[in-house]
Point group: C2
DNA sequence: CGGGCTAGTGTTAACGTTCACACCATGACC
DNA sequence: GGTCATGGTGTGAACGTTAACACTAGCCCG
């Protein structure tokens, strides 16, 4: 079948002016009232089997498609949820969108997205308003930056809202991995291997998750009585990791680095390799996220795994609970786990 | 500000049953008819400045939000476009979604997504139907697999539809990079460097883009009179690239590899490094896509760049043209370009 | 001074569903 | 034999907006 060339639904002004069939058309064809058609459509019990079949046949014959706007108008329900994301090539956000969409579909909802260019307050608010125009019944906001989280707190309370990656301190219902615990996992692993201390390449200032990972790193170092080197601040990108890695490479004392995400770890690996510092022989590296490529970096990256799909599903779940008016327990922390590969080993003694 | 607990918007007296304000409420407050409110809302010219202001004030005071369902019902327009994607952690699809969303927003449309679990025919059709239920005015389908493309061809012609990454042979309007040309670029680059021939790690069978890249590779080899080694078939993942890389490493004749995407190239790099074959000294490697991490692999990856954001924008543009009934030129090929880094060099002679 | 134009506003009727009923057989029960 | 529930169906009336038209003033023009 060739399409595209054909005029498709193009109802050019011409004579015909054929409208898509409506419930009344189906009713007429089946010889019943429109209400009976509605009952069949919504699976009401009180319809005779034989009548139901006639209606079903008529629907098929006319290729009837219920008008969602009319239904929405009268039921006051859009069956739609919104996602606010940001324009990023980061692995996390984009993979969470799928988890959310699947969970939403399973719960019988449609999903519309609104991306916020910058995660600035105004940009996030604008995205939220776009979704409100669409009459969404709830919003999952993937906005892991302080300015954006503040914006969420000022969204009018009439609409159900869940933040993702907004950090444990946020003043909105939220779902996220326990970043502090994850960082501790990574740092303890390195200290247990025998490293004196651990350097940290962090995410950028103003990102709650970056801050929490820094906190976990600090806590683990403090518990072990290890010295706390200066944080190397990155921006989540491989490029920034590369730059940080150059700094690490210049420091002969540095034997272990914990990176705020895998992309930066990748950059660190590259910087170290470039100057001939071997991983893990000379320097150990640990990342965060466990991107699909992590096992195939050089060397395979030991990292802290976040299950983004799970985050998506859980945020959906929480959103629905809130939308139904439940009040309790609006703070879900998922436990990350350490995936040991070969980029971290005991230091050369 | 704490949210979630409080019940939101202040309402009409009579305790119970508080409905959101409607156009009539605004009209009453402003002392005009609802039609005048409608005119203000839609920016009609024939409203006295003073009246307009009164209406605007009233809207603000009531925190009025137009009911999109009612509007949709009467205008017969949803202002919504749909995206069909698939659940993948591939870089391309997820970054295109943003390009599309931005372009759609700029054109005044909302975007709803429907993901297809498997790219099987039925799964794609189901996703398309979900969008039709939502009354979308057009669909961009990111479904780069034959089974899915077939499904698109059988979508009823009433709805505007654009395929992305569906290959040049698809029987639907489409936007995509010129894969054949891109592959030729890569292979010629390697041959020009002095390699006798070039091996290829391809994407999986049944993916049009994989096939087109294979074709470009074959064409370039044939033009140069080079022998055509057996294709190593992967599945786009780093893991499959790693396996293919092991095969390459075992072949002492192999000095150059062109990979169907960057993830597989990454796996190849790792496999070669593991057995001590140096890149680019012993083996040259070229990828496809130019993922953000490509410059920071070991060594920095020479690759063919696709601009996914541009693909998103162009597909949106095409979709709107089709929706408006334009008939011509429904096949857009973007030209990729080679980004030379250091993973490919002349062979050791 | 009547006709026609224009700016500004109101009135009424769609749009296509679902909801709340009313209605009719039928059979059961006292 | 009358009441009562109960399966099955039809009849309005919403829902909240925009479209189409009608209606006033006020003004210009011949």
């Amino acid at each position: 079948m060739s399409r595209g060339a054909e005029g498709g639904g193009a109802q050019r002004p011409g004579d015909g002016e054929h409208r898509p069939p409506v419930m009344m058309d189906v009713a007429r064809l089946a010889g019943v009232s429109h209400q009976t058609v509605s009952r069949v459509l919504n699976g009401h019990a009180k319809v005779r089997q034989q009548t139901r079949q006639r209606v079903l046949d008529a629907m098929r014959e006319l290729d009837y498609q219920p008008n969602s706007a009319a239904r929405m108008l009268v039921t006051r329900r859009s069956n739609t949820l919104g996602i606010v994301t940001f324009d990023s090539t980061l692995f996390g956000p984009s993979s969470m969108v799928y988890g959310i969409e699947q969970a939403a579909r399973a719960a019988g909802y449609f999903v519309t997205i609104a991306s916020s260019r910058s995660l600035s307050r105004s940009s996030v608010l604008e995205a939220v308003n776009r979704l409100r125009e669409q009459a969404v019944e709830g919003i999952v906001a993937i906005v892991p930056k302080d300015s954006a989280v503040d914006a969420l707190a000022s969204v009018p309370a009439g609409i159900a809202l869940v933040g993702v990656g907004v950090g444990g301190a946020a003043d909105v219902p939220m779902v996220g991995v326990d970043n502090t615990a994850g960082a501790e996992l990574a740092v303890h692993h390195l200290l247990d291997l025998g490293h004196r201390t651990v350097h940290h390449v962090s995410g950028p200032a103003g990102w709650p998750e970056a801050r929490e990972r820094v906190a976990g790193w600090q806590k683990a170092l403090a518990e072990a009585g290890a010295a706390e080197p200066e944080v190397l601040v990155g921006d989540w990108s491989a490029r920034s990791g590369y730059q940080a890695g150059q700094a690490v490479a210049r420091d002969p004392e540095a034997t272990a680095v914990f990176c705020g995400n895998d992309q930066m770890a990748l950059g660190v690996l590259r910087a170290l390799s470039e100057v001939g510092r071997r991983v893990p022989d000379d320097v150990s590296v640990v990342g965060f996220d466990d991107i699909p490529e992590a096992p195939y970096l050089i060397p395979p990256l030991t990292t802290v795994r976040q299950d983004f799909g799970e985050v998506g599903r859980r945020s959906m779940e929480l959103l629905l609970r809130i939308a139904e008016g439940e009040q309790s327990h609006h703070r879900i922390h998922l436990t990350p786990r350490l995936v040991v590969r070969t980029s971290a080993a005991r230091p050369a003694s």
